[in-house]
Symmetry: C2
Subunit: 366 residues, 2 copies
Amino acid sequence: MPTTSATTRIHNFSAGPAVLPLPVLEEAQRELLALPGVGMSVMEISHRSKTFEDILSRAVEDIRALAHVPDSYKVLMLQGGASLQFSMVPMNLLGPGAAADYVDTGSWADKAIKEARKVGTVNLAGSTKAEKYSRIPAERELTLTPGAAYVHITTNNTIEGTQWTALPEVGGVPLVADASSDIFHAPLDVSRFGLIYAGAQKNLGPSGVTLVIVREDLLARSTDVLPVMMNYRVHAENNSLYNTPNTFGIYILGLTMKWLRSQGGLPAMARVNQRKAAKLYAEIDRTGFYRGTAQPESRSLMNVTFRLATEELEKLFVKESTAAGLDGLKGHRSVGGMRASIYNAFPEEGVDALVDFMREFERKHG
Amino acid sequence: MPTTSATTRIHNFSAGPAVLPLPVLEEAQRELLALPGVGMSVMEISHRSKTFEDILSRAVEDIRALAHVPDSYKVLMLQGGASLQFSMVPMNLLGPGAAADYVDTGSWADKAIKEARKVGTVNLAGSTKAEKYSRIPAERELTLTPGAAYVHITTNNTIEGTQWTALPEVGGVPLVADASSDIFHAPLDVSRFGLIYAGAQKNLGPSGVTLVIVREDLLARSTDVLPVMMNYRVHAENNSLYNTPNTFGIYILGLTMKWLRSQGGLPAMARVNQRKAAKLYAEIDRTGFYRGTAQPESRSLMNVTFRLATEELEKLFVKESTAAGLDGLKGHRSVGGMRASIYNAFPEEGVDALVDFMREFERKHG
């Protein structure tokens, strides 16, 4: 069977797992049977080997460099995705008698809240559920609890296509963020956060790796009664090598971070992402044939959600776009419509191709 | 940079992550940029896509076929390795007021016990700790608790090089096994177990995937107060797709299962594994220059552990064997000595090469 090549690839608008940079896949393909000078695949080497330790520490260093992570923060690579973090965050940070503030801006925020409620007291600091999560609440709408254990937000709402454009002012309370679907899409002031977590499979790499950036002083809240694998302090003390991590996933994440740096880092990403999203929103707003579902001031740069006049037309859009090599545009089953996920690795020519398709589709069916 | 090839590979005796079948790596390499007919890398496709659902269900079907898994068992692919299972097993199966029996046969069994003690009552049903874990206790040495929630064993002790050769008789109590380092090394009577778990990175695939085979009636013990990601019932009800799994890891595990079947399945593996281990133990026993650390009746077919007369000689052995292209023979740091891990995918010619090297080393230094 011939080796697949770049020319056989299509435009992948999946919400995650999502498109990876082509140079990352090409490097992984070249090295898959044996890392140069090592004689074993990266999948086969011990996680305690010098080779893997270098892969891990280079990935961490690139993350630190990309996001200017202060020295007072630990960078961890865990497993279980954001879903496991929904439990780990309160189990580690929400002490007995304390309460945490959660802002409910979408389906994933709602899941985080459900898990936190199993652990301790949760205050709903704000919610746009009644408006079908079509926007991020304004700061004046938030009811923050003085002395809360932390404030939890979801920086980008993958399903609803909304994104926080400015972080809420939370005073001395640690801000905890699920940044799975927009981490590193633009420069990030880590010092504003107590803890940031992100499943890798949208903007960082393949699925099966979870990035956690945590301020060191918060590790003191992790107690020894926790299951050891759920304990941030244990993972921090062991540099993410308490147990066998997802070694291949970390390797691909590392290659992706190297690619990000080669592209000019987060400021360059921000420019490209602004441009890509602006093209799509301009097309959505052009005639009214398409209708954006997120309020304009809360529109996501990562997940562009829109609808058509009827569900029949939407089905046709999905069918014809898929046939045209534009894959993954069907919206999440819980909300319907269309969604174009255009993370860092999604190429701008794919956005141009979608805009062309949208115009042609409107011409034919408008 | 040229693509690495099979000829650049060395013999990899790592304890895990460990050697994978070369045809598996070659197939993954060919398809890495785009799955045939799909136009995207397996790392980039949605876990909800038909393509990935097929990959997952084929892997599960191959596991069912290989081990003749009865219909009354669920096959799950989770994250977090055996270490997370150390907590998930008692959190799901050890109800309030109940007690579980644990047999302490090595460092990993000891870790499982520590985590279970955080959850509930643990009875030590047997231990060979006082004998440096050099053997598996005989059945008559076990003190089983009538009506225990379950009995936990570690089928193969990776660090100490011992293995259960016959399962203990536990009556109606569910037998729970950490089979990380010997699963599928030989035919397996799944019906003897309530639950089997295994980190994939030794005998199944790459790190970052955990196989769990669980008898369905035990899922009734999983309560809704558990963190959702720690709940076996939730994962079973969602066919391992409650959240985004390690898609690439499952893909490689699937290719490895396909390879296992092509080799003749578990009976064929048992024959090869018996032969490989017999060659090494025969060499160890030949003159007394090498000394096996496990009692002969408990010797592992997967991890062959041995020592030399002095630590200096052991260091030299590690150095010279590494230089000879025999990698990963240094024993676990907690016990010292040497360890040759020879899982299913480890080729017999690698064992022959090690035997040759051992003879030559003894000739030079004996």
